[in-house]
């Protein structure tokens, strides 16, 4: 395997890059990653949580499953998942960010959302990080889909539907590998992960070519 490019995203920043069909994006992290993908030549073919879940009949993203666009176009397949057996990747939540933190604080629900009522909240989060990262491609916030939230483990009550965040994360950096099914624009945010014990860490992204 040949490394095409590598980037280390510091905590609470974003990054976007173009990758070619057949290349593999390896994400190495132990913190939440908010991740989106678009067809490189048609940004309306954006990742969409709902068709992805409908195709897999599963509310989590698991190894072997494919990220689909709103029009059911395959974008990427999760081919390696070292979080498997430790926790699950989320397809329920949106993005954290200034507006969300502000509302949670106003409603007095920071504890419920983020495991702690007294914390210094960052002035930005995944919404701002992804908006900034995708800005060079002219994609505005409202066209950035709700992401795959890698390493965002949650519990839910089957009967009531109530969802609860957990603090389960990898104990050391682990790898995810996503195979590009077509030429893509991908973007991610190294989430400030205010619900975790670490409150966010770096994320390493590596694009590799299988030779």
């Amino acid at each position: 395997m040949r490394t095409v490019k590598q980037y280390v995203a510091p905590k609470n920043t974003g990054w976007a890059t173009e990758i070619q069909a057949g290349q593999v994006l390896r994400l190495t992290a132990q913190t939440i990653i908010d991740f989106v993908a678009f067809d490189l030549y048609d940004f309306s073919e954006a990742f969409d949580q709902a068709p992805t879940k409908e195709a897999s009949n599963c509310m989590y993203l698991k190894r072997g499953q494919t990220l689909l666009s709103r029009k059911n176009t395959p974008l990427m397949t999760l081919i390696k998942d070292e979080f498997e057996g430790i926790g699950t990747h989320d397809l329920q939540f949106g993005m954290c960010g200034r507006a969300r933190h502000k509302r949670a604080a106003e409603e007095g629900r920071l504890g419920e959302y983020l495991h702690g009522n007294n914390m210094d909240l960052p002035d930005h989060g995944c919404a701002e990080n992804l908006t900034g990262a995708l800005e060079p491609w002219g994609i505005p916030y409202e066209n950035i889909p709700s992401p795959v939230n890698f390493f965002q483990n949650m519990k839910f009550n089957q009967n009531s539907g109530c969802m609860e965040r957990t603090q389960i994360r990898p104990k050391r950096p682990v790898n995810l590998e996503l195979l590009a099914e077509r030429d893509l624009l991908v973007g991610f945010s190294a989430c400030p992960d205010m619900a975790s014990k670490t409150r966010g860490l770096d994320v390493t992204a590596t694009v590799v070519e299988i030779t």
Binding site: Q49, A50, E54, G94, E142, F156, Q158, G161, M163
Partner: protein, 180 residues
């Protein structure tokens, strides 16, 4: 309450209309109804399934829950849910009739890329402990209603969309807009 507007919506047909702040949108029926809502003064602000799940910390919308926009603002509150105890509304699936919803929304010039995922009223789902999602056709046997109170001025849209696997009836749906 005064009735401001009423409409019957045949299977595979849709409806779009204004609902003013404070008014109540009543949706009645017994087949699956896909629902979208947009802030009237700026349709780039739209009902969003993920924000709705996270603010309610719940996967199954019902009475007392609010619908939130992509921009994290409240849009509507569910004040009555006649499906409660019968089945669950769906915040997981995509559009059953996307093309139909796009033609309903044509006056807003909403394209496929701008079409948000819907709330699927009366589309019962079973989600197992392991996270497996199973459609569980279990529409109401008689017409039931869900009442949503608008917290801002909105454009709302529905598709009466009896997807083959979940359709109990293919019956008409009914829209009523009420002014308290």
């Amino acid at each position: 309450m005064n009735v401001i507007n009423e409409a019957a919506v045949s299977p595979q047909k849709g409806w779009m209309g204004n609902v003013d702040q404070g008014q109540i949108l009543r949706i009645s029926g017994r087949s699956v109804i896909d629902f979208n809502a947009f802030k009237r003064e700026d349709i780039r602000e739209y009902f969003d399934t993920a924000r709705t799940r996270i603010y309610n910390l719940n996967m199954y919308p019902t009475a007392g829950h609010r619908l939130f926009s992509k921009q994290n603002n409240p849009m509507m509150q569910i004040i009555e849910d006649g499906f409660s105890g019968v089945g669950l509304h769906d915040l997981q699936s995509g559009h059953g009739c996307a093309e139909g919803m796009l033609s309903v929304l044509a006056p807003l010039e909403i394209t496929y890329e701008d079409l948000p995922d819907p709330l699927g009223f009366f589309r019962n789902l079973d989600i197992t402990r392991e996270g497996r999602i199973r459609p569980k056709p279990k529409g109401p046997l008689t017409d039931v209603s869900i009442d949503l109170k608008a917290e801002i001025d909105l454009v709302c849209a529905i598709m009466n969309c009896p997807a083959a696997e979940t359709s109990a009836s293919g019956a008409d749906a009914f829209i009523t807009i009420l002014q308290p």
